[in-house]
Symmetry: C2
Subunit: 157 residues, 2 copies
């Protein structure tokens, strides 16, 4: 039956997941704060950094960030107002935009990257060895949504 109490091990695994995520997330955001970017903003810039010259579509960025398109529009507004990104009307689809990092954006991304990774080392990687990392990778893979899950989202029974 699915409603029995969690046993001790389950509880430790689940609660730890929640509180550890919460804490590390906050610390990394706090580290980024002096640069004036949130995690959400940083990770958009990081995606754009990977995309390079090709840029990325607004809609794709929003999807990758798991944000609503409306919310993403405003996030992009903020970054654009600060001169960190640039929107260019897409040549082959007049409804859409391609988004690029500006020079300033790339410079800030590098700084934020450094800062983020110092914190990540300190909070995460320095405390785990490769076996732990392998366990985590395996666990995330197991927890990844299956096609069934996706199907049931689209056609709820």
């Amino acid at each position: 039956m699915a409603t029995e109490r969690l046993d001790e091990l389950e509880d430790a695994a689940w609660r730890g997941f929640l509180v550890t995520h919460d804490r590390i997330w906050r610390e990394i955001e706090a580290g980024l704060a002096p640069l004036g970017v949130s995690m959400a903003e940083y990770s958009v810039m990081a995606l754009l950094g990977e995309a390079g010259r090709k840029g990325m579509r607004m809609s794709e960025l929003a999807q990758r960030r798991l944000m609503s398109s409306g919310g993403f529009t405003r996030l992009a507004d903020r970054l654009e107002r600060r001169g960190l990104i640039e929107r260019r009307r897409s040549a082959d689809d007049g409804r859409g935009f391609e988004v690029y990092l500006t020079k300033e954006g790339r410079a800030l991304l590098r700084k934020a990257w450094r800062r983020q990774h110092e914190d990540l080392r300190r909070l995460f990687f320095d405390r785990l060895d490769d076996d732990h990392l392998r366990s985590l990778a395996e666990i995330w893979a197991r927890l990844a949504p299956t096609d069934d899950d996706k199907a049931s989202l689209e056609h709820p029974s």
Copy 2:
């Protein structure tokens, strides 16, 4: 040097952590939504459920939830307006309140608990065996903040 790129394993472990948390969190919130409670609200009610007759202080609930006191006041307002909790002026400290679940609150908590745990089984426990859970528990323990971390928060160098 702390700024080198993440290797593949590190990347999988860290990125997986972020996306898995995000996804499972959203799914559980979606499961709770029909009952009209957010995760934050649910977990406050769960704390109150554990506290039982003794109730809990506003300030302690806020701390446990890692929320600002202002934010927590409003969360409590919402729950109180819906008749799920009750605030009683503390007898031995006239500034404070003790908070209790009402009958309705306990009833809703049971429903939410069931729902939450079904989802948790499906999304988390059914996909992991005890070895995985043990690995997770150990990893969370290693990542837990040390006294050093706390000290450096209070006396930043």
